[in-house]
Amino acid sequence: MLRKLQELIRKEMLVLLREKQTLPLLFFMPAALIFFLSLALQGVYLDKFAGRQIMLVIENETPGPKSTLLEKKIASHRLVQRVGRPPGYSNDQLFESGKAHGVILIPRGFEEGQKPVQMEFDPVLDAGYKSATRALITSLTAEVVMGIDDIEAMTSNFIVEKTKPNMTFPGPLQNAVPGWSIFAMFFIAIPMSIGFLREKQDGTLQRLFTYPVSVHVVILGKLIPYYLINLIQFALMLLVGVGVMPFFIKFPFTLGAHPWHLVPITLVAAAASTGFGVLVAATAKAPEQSSALAATSAVLMAVFGGIMVPPVLMPVFMKKLAMLSPMYWAHQAYLDVFMRHAALNSIVPKLAVLMLFASVCFYIAGRKVKWM
């Protein structure tokens, strides 16, 4: 029995690897997605982590002691990049040309408390930046008006920030490496279902059953190769993240405090993606249909599951929807390891959801599949 199983696995691997589209689909596609999307999103992530400097035109109409101090405080703040107004540019022209995000005017009469500081922002500026700048200008103005040297130092006894760095928002590689690996793992459904349906169409599958070979051996001979390829896919993508991407991107990719937890997660995620492949193979009636079904389902699961957009950026409704996707649970389990240094017992519930998904897929496929 073992020899027959070995031979069927060998046959499946040969058939799979000789298909021209398999290697690009299963290995080059996720590697390219990790590479290009991490590079493309690097700027966005830099803003999220380091805080983008806002370009401000600061104009002071009455150089008195208070207004000069306020001008200096604003201009020297680490979040502010002071820019000059090109001759003849109105505020609208400044914003349209992208030369400034906002204009701060310290008006005549500020010294006497007769006129407030005026702020005007580029209308398309991110609301978060707008509100952060408004808060910054307010606190600096309060310092100057009330004669306080450093309001942050003064309030440090009352407010303490204890957020661990990078613990809630994944870096571009932390998000992309597991995300696109999972995405590619679910794409295994395409060659798996096409192979199964082609063998049914050309009669080779039925021919196997004319020999004294058990149906369980044939099933295992079909499943094991794809399961192994899933494991290889993840290992290779991890290598890309750890060994290749640091040469191209400013963000490090660390495996977290418990890298061995990746093993059970990957074993279970591979079971879920193989189960999905079996379900597609059992449901579709022709190879062309299975290919479309597998690709569409995998892309939708990736969209909803937080692979393409991190769930932390999603609205509440979408975050709830994300939980319907098995990719979400696999992705979150990986992020637990990479970012949250989670203990195994806090990952287990996510693995249980993935196992449930795999079991349901195998069960439905078992009921639907027609071998002959």
């Binding site: 058939v15 050309d202 080779t204 039925q206 021919r207 196997l208 059953f209 004319t210 020999y211 004294p212």
Partner: protein
């Protein structure tokens, strides 16, 4: 000795049997060393019968025995060599790799498998192309490989479903010669074909099947013109059902 004994077999694809029977009370005996033609119009039940014998279909009433063993016995399955009507080989594998897969499934040991693979490739004229992927083969080469796979494990009962359909005269001749040689060694052959001339020339026994029922069984030598006999027994109306 009976190589194949089919007794009162009834089978319907629909479990409730509302769509009619694919086979009804069908019986047939093939003796060891006999070359037996199984003929009938399209949809007569020939392929269904082949699938029942080879265990691809289950759930029939009646009995199917291969050399005295029930057809669901693994030993009985090992005695059968089956060449299905569609060429059923893996197109991205070479002939050699295909033979390896099916040889292992048949339980052949490595050394025997190599010897037998060489022998069947030689017999079917495919030895020079053994390492080429079968997707590059012509129709005739594929048909011969289909037969080579069936012969690989030295079966004692050979079931051939349309083995010469769509092949050139050279390939057809090669297949006939191979079958004659096997038959001379005592292998029982069931030849399922639409080519009446082929059935008449190759076979000593005939079973005529129509609409799932056996309508004639006897000696081929008693029939002077099989084509005429066939049309007389089954009628001249077109059979478009598969």
């Amino acid at each position: 000795m009976k190589a194949l004994e089919i007794s009162q077999v009834t089978f319907a694809y629909d479990q409730n049997e509302t769509a009619g029977f694919a086979l009804r009370d069908f019986s047939m005996v093939v003796q060891a060393g006999e070359m037996h033609a199984l003929v009938g119009p399209n949809g007569a039940g020939k392929t269904t019968l082949m699938k029942l014998i080879t265990g691809q279909l289950r759930g029939c009433r009646g009995d199917i025995k291969i050399y005295g063993r029930r057809s669901d016995d693994p030993v009985a399955l090992s005695a059968i060599g089956y060449a299905p009507q569609p060429v059923s080989v893996f197109p991205s594998l070479s002939a050699w790799e295909n033979l390896r897969v099916f040889g292992v499934m048949a339980g052949l040991a490595d050394r025997v498998l190599k010897e037998r693979a060489m022998a069947v490739l030689e017999a079917t004229g495919l030895l020079p192309y053994a390492k080429k992927r079968t997707s590059t083969y012509s129709g005739g080469m594929l048909r011969r490989l289909n037969l080579a796979v069936a012969l690989l494990h030295s079966p004692r009962l050979l079931l051939l479903d349309e083995p010469t359909v769509g092949v050139d005269p050279q390939s057809r001749n090669n297949i006939y010669e191979t079958l004659n040689a096997l038959n001379a060694q005592g292998v029982a052959v069931v030849l399922c074909t639409h080519i009446m001339d082929e059935a008449q020339r190759m076979c000593s026994k005939l079973t005529l099947l129509d609409r799932g029922e056996m309508i004639f069984s006897g000696e081929m030598r008693e029939i002077p013109d099989l084509e005429k006999f066939f049309l007389e027994k089954t009628g001249r109306s077109l059979r478009d059902d598969s």
